[in-house]
Amino acid sequence: MIILLTRAEIIEKLGTGAGEVFAELYVEYLPKVYRFISYRITDSQLAEDLTSIVFEKALTKFKSYSSDKAKFSTWIFTIARNTLIDHYRVNKREQTVKLEDAVNLVSPDSPEDESDRTEEMALLKTCLAELSHSEQEIISLKFGAEMTNRQIATTLSLSESNVGIIIYRAVRKLRDGFKVRQ
């Protein structure tokens, strides 16, 4: 029955069968929310904790959500962004990792491919930390949340063309920083 409903009808199906509705949205959005957060938070355990907080808040507020006011993706990423803002304000520090620390994170028993990947991920996050806050946020919304430029523009009150240029410049900065450090 749920499968035959349109997405708008599913989201409006509150009060009864909300478990199935939420479960479907959870399956679609959990990886995106997790990736969005993990672009800003290096520690994977902390990224999981913050992702849990986002979905627990979303579940608490789910009955008051209305697709007339905002799309579900806009709504849940607003919760995610606010959760990150609160985390940074409470902890008052940026989440970065140095390359040498990242090397220590690799288990000596890991296969070589996995250790290369872990090292490259840490290097990428080091380069990300050197971008401005707005560039970091746009990159995490693009690569993590997989938002279109138009959605990012709406979320951050920017023009769509401006978002496109910022992403292009930020990726080139990351590429150059990556090359220098490799």
């Binding site: 909300a18 479960a23 959990l30 990886p31 993990s38 990224a47 808040k57 607003t78 990726v171 080139r172």
Partner: protein, 279 residues
Amino acid sequence: MTREYEESRIFSENLDRLLAGKEMKIDPASGVELISAMDFAKKMTALRSEPSPQFQANLKARLLQQLRDKESLQEDPGWFGKLFRGQRLWLTAVVCAALLIVVGSVLWRTGVISPPGSSYVAPPVITSTTATTTATATTTTTTATVPTTGPYLLADASVDKPVYQPGETVNIQVNLTNVSGRPFTITQYPPILSLMSSDTKQAVYTFTAGQMSQTIPPGQKTSFTLSWNQADSKGSLVKDGNYYIELEDLDLQGKAVKLDLQKPVEFDILAGQPGGKTY
């Protein structure tokens, strides 16, 4: 149209294709800079972190259980309702007994009635925290059984003007009244407050939760004031338009304590340059 603008447009189109799981359309005649950027975007996509299957399954199970608990509280009248359904006389007797218990507990709390030889014992305290506390924060403990139903707090707020010039400070006052019948402690006071754009329905600025603990006696209210300089989370002045205030729910052992304003509080910010004539 500059070269960079054109390249960024092609880059964005291909990046959207890549993120949708499709092949990028790279024209070999594209500049070296563009091709190199697209190659790096592929690398970035491949290096993305994914949530572990165990984390996904555990969180899903926890959320569904919370949802089932909520639904069963709403739908199930409980053994109480089932036992006395359709039995008026029993229902009357039960209501009278409940009234006697309520009156008796009020008299006991106010000291009119007390067990012989006992001294007055402070009423139990409800302790809550904000809903945004991270998982690593200290968990709060309650010293009494928590009522399963609210409301606990009534929230009302006001701003000092209905209309503001650009850059003018918006002074916000919030009052929280404890209607729970027991002392209510907010461990991160004041609670989180967001300034919302009526246009986008999104927060443009959020005041984070405070670090002090505040206990509100039953029937009493507490107030706090915040001043907003019309800056968004990036420090830029917000656009002209209509804005409203929203308070974040509190968390009471996994249950949400709503802080919905009894009356919506909204105000307008005019267009123009900062430092204009005061309204």
